[in-house]
């Protein structure tokens, strides 16, 4: 595996968590920060309605020593609300401000109750070095059911695969949220720790 493929591979592994909570309430906005051994990223999006969000992501690639920004959009194509569950299906896309050949598009969805979470995603990424795709599955369980305003905890397991490598990589994820703050920590033997912070305005 060439150096660029190696770097891109770990970049892919590290970059999926930021897809969580892609749309806010109507008129709301969200700040996300993501950090790991490969990159530091800040993503801010605004939701004119609950159906879609638009935002900008600033990425500092620590290994390629490259900084760039993406214009991003997410659209909710289907949602089903029931008394005890919610199901979502989204499409999203991003385009580099400096280089339009650097872009992505994808689809992801989830189904959750207060106790269980199931999510999946597929993403096609294009750039000047190599085009590739990635997919992931995520399962989660809440060990206790907190009330509104409590500290909520999710124990999750995520598995990922991309077209650069045929192996599935599976690792545990811990998610906590309280009020407007959400934090998520994941650990993989290959990528070590990653951290995801979110604040909803």
């Amino acid at each position: 595996m060439g150096m660029y493929r190696y770097i891109l591979f770990f970049y892919i592994i590290a970059s999926i968590n930021i897809e969580a909570r892609p749309i806010s309430y109507s008129g709301g906005s969200t700040l996300m920060m993501f950090s790991d051994n490969m990159k530091d990223s800040i993503y801010y999006h605004f939701s004119p309605t609950y159906k879609y969000s638009i935002g900008i992501e600033s990425v500092k690639d620590n290994y390629l020593n490259n900084d760039y920004s993406l214009l991003r959009a997410t659209y909710l194509i289907n949602r089903k609300n029931t008394q005890y569950s919610q199901r979502n299906l989204y499409i999203n896309a991003g385009l580099s401000i400096n280089d339009t050949s650097n872009n992505f598009y994808g689809i992801h969805g989830d189904w959750e109750t207060r106790r269980w979470f199931v999510g999946f995603g597929f993403k096609k990424l294009n750039n000047k070095i190599i085009d590739y795709d990635q997919k992931h599955l995520q399962l989660g369980v809440a060990p206790y059911l907190g009330e509104y305003g409590d500290l909520h905890t999710w124990l999750m397991i995520k598995t990922k695969k991309n077209s650069l490598n045929d192996d599935w990589y599976t690792y545990p994820v811990l998610k906590f949220f309280k009020g407007n703050v959400l934090v998520e920590f994941g650990y993989n033997d290959e990528t070590e720790w990653d951290a995801h912070f979110m604040y909803r305005f």
Binding site: Y50, N81, T82, A195, R200
Partner: protein
Amino acid sequence: MKLIGIILFLFSSWMVASDHSHDHMDHSDMMHHSHEGHAHEELVDGEKLEVNPERFDKFVANLSNAQVAVVSVKGMVCDFCARGIEKTFEKDKNVKKIDVDLSQGKVLVAFDKGFDINFEDIKKKILANGQNATGMQVVSI
């Protein structure tokens, strides 16, 4: 990179601690008021009010001359996702107070007693957060 991770963790902890402290203030306020006998089980017309009694009592603890809309909501399965409901209603100057009962799928909204509560307006506000309001009961305080 590790430094940023540590900063994120500390900032998150601080935010959680801030919210926790705020919760304690609310709880202290509740301690000064007894609200036994509130109609959180059955309305005057005999219809059952499905709310968490403790949460309802806490919600109405500081309210007087008010009416509470108990709104049934579908799809409200996550605290973080329900935050937008609170933020949307807080922009309405007619709303005195709001709370979310996740376990029962209810949103509690307090208005002044004389205010004409419009269910269609409430449905729009709930939908603005991506959930569906399916019914409403009103309790006078």
